[in-house]
Symmetry: C2
Subunit: 232 residues, 2 copies
DNA sequence: GCGACGGTTCGGCACCCACCGAACCATCGC
DNA sequence: GCGATGGTTCGGTGGGTGCCGAACCGTCGC
C-alpha cells in the first residue's frame, strides 16, 4: 500500500503553477532546455533550476546534459499518460464527447502532426528516416545535418541559405515521439523542411489543430524526392 | 488545453499528507464520517472539516449529510481510478509483474473480498440482496436492519445479542462497491455476518489479502440459509 | 427540558516554499 | 586569451497554508 506522505510528495511536484506549466509544455514530447522552460513559465533561470531539480528527483522528468545546455523531457510515456489522464479530468465536456473526439483526432495525430514547428508522427519519422538513409542526416550520437544535407536543403528543397544559419538554435535536433517511440528531426532543419512541405502544398493542416495530412501532390513529390510511399 | 494553474490547483488537493491519507482511506469504497477521517489522519476535527471542504470543492469527494453526520466518499469511479493509477506508479516492482498480479488478483477481488470488516464484491452484494429479499434488511433511504433481521441474526446466525449493540457504530450501513456499482451491507451487522461466515468456514481468505472465496461447505450452507446459488 | 456528541467557525501561530538577484562556474565562439 | 551565454548556488524575503483550541451550532437520546 502506498503511504500518504509518498502520495502527497508526488502530488506536490505538480501542485505548483510553475512546475505544472513546465510539465504541460513538455507534454509535446520535445526535450526543452532549462532556459526555454524558465522563459515559458515566466520565472528566473535560478528558479527554474530548483524546479527542474525537484521534478527530476521525483522521477517525472529526465535530463541530458549537452555542453552548457541542460535538456529536459518527460521521464517516460507513463508520465505523459498520467498527465493526460489528469488533464482529461479537468477538461470541460462529457467524457463521451471527449472520447469520440479523442478517437478520431488521435488517429490523425498519430499519422502526422506538427510538433512546435516541425513534422512529427509517422510522417515525421518517415521523413527523418529517409533523410538519414540518403546521407543527408546523421543519427550517430545526436542528430546532425551532413554537408551533403545542407546542399540538398538549398538546391533540392529551395531553402534560402541564410535561413539555415538562424542564430543559436541547433541546425538539427532529435525530438522524441511519444506515439512512435522514435526520434524525428527538429531544430532549424526540421522547421525548414516542415515549412517547405506546407508551403508547396505537399502536406496540409487538418482543421485548426496540429494534425496534418499528405496531399495528392505531396504524395507524388515525396515519392520522387525521398522514395517515400505508404503515406496513408 | 488545460491551464497550468488549473493543473496545479488540482494536484494541490493531493499534495498534503492529511488530504492524501483521507483519499487513500476512501479508496476502500466506503463512505466515512468526518470524525473517522480526522482520527485516521491524526488531526483535529476542525482541521478535517477544512480539508474535506477543499476536497469536495475540488470535485474529488462527494458528501451526504445525515443527521449530525457528514458522510464522505470518493466522488466517482474516475477518481478512484486516477488515484490507483498514481499509487501504482509509486509502488515498487516492474509494471509487468504488477500487471500480472493485478490481472489474477483482480478477478478474485471482484468475486469476493472483505471491505474493512464486512463482505464486498459480488459475494457481498449477493448476500445483501438476499437479506433484503427475505425482509431482514430494508434498503429504503439508507440501510436498516429490521426487527425480524435482528432475530434472524441472533437465532439463525448465532450472533450474541450484546454484539449487536456495539456503541455508536450504526447497525447497518450502505457501503458502495466500485466493482459492482451497488451498495452492500456494512456497519455492525455487516461485520457480524462476515465474522460468522469466516468463523464457520463458509468463506475463507485467499492468501493474505482481502480476497475471499466461498468454500464447499459454505456453498451448501448459503444455499440452505439464503437460497444463494451461483457463487462461483 | 437536559447533557452528550458530531461538526463548523474563527483567531492566531508557525512553518514551508516559491521567488528573486547577485555572484559564480562552465562552455562556446571568436 | 576574451566576451557572451546557459546554468547553478546562496542568502533573504514574503505569502500561503496547515494546524490547533475555544466557542458555537445542530442533532440525538434520555
Amino acid at each position: 500500500m502506498t503511504d500518504a506522505s509518498e502520495l502527497a510528495a508526488f502530488a506536490a511536484l505538480l501542485a505548483d503553477r510553475t512546475r505544472a506549466a513546465m510539465c504541460l509544455a513538455l507534454l509535446d514530447g520535445r526535450a526543452w532546455t532549462a532556459g526555454e522552460l524558465a522563459k515559458h513559465a515566466g520565472v528566473a533561470r535560478s528558479t527554474a533550476t530548483e524546479h527542474l531539480d525537484r521534478l527530476i528527483g521525483g522521477g517525472l522528468l529526465s535530463e541530458a546534459r549537452q555542453g552548457r545546455h541542460r535538456y529536459v523531457r518527460l521521464a517516460d510515456p507513463g508520465v505523459a499518460g498520467l498527465l493526460e489522464d489528469i488533464t482529461a479530468r479537468l477538461e470541460p465536456g462529457l467524457p463521451a464527447v471527449r472520447g469520440l473526439r479523442a478517437a478520431t483526432a488521435d488517429a490523425a495525430l498519430r499519422r502526422g502532426r506538427t510538433c512546435y514547428d516541425h513534422l512529427a508522427g509517422r510522417l515525421g519519422v518517415a521523413v527523418t528516416d529517409a533523410l538519414t538513409r540518403d546521407g543527408l542526416l546523421d543519427q550517430e550520437g545526436g542528430f546532425a545535418v551532413t554537408g551533403y544535407g545542407v546542399t540538398w536543403l538549398i538546391e533540392r528543397l529551395g531553402v534560402e541559405p541564410e535561413r539555415l544559419r538562424a542564430g543559436r538554435r541547433p541546425l538539427a535536433r532529435a525530438c522524441l515521439d511519444w506515439t512512435e517511440r522514435r526520434p524525428h528531426l527538429g531544430g532549424v532543419a526540421g522547421a525548414r523542411v516542415c515549412e517547405t512541405f506546407l508551403g508547396r502544398g505537399w502536406v496540409g493542416r487538418i482543421g485548426s489543430g496540429r494534425a496534418v495530412k499528405v496531399t495528392p501532390s505531396g504524395r507524388v513529390a515525396l515519392r520522387e524526392l525521398l522514395a517515400l510511399t505508404d503515406l496513408d
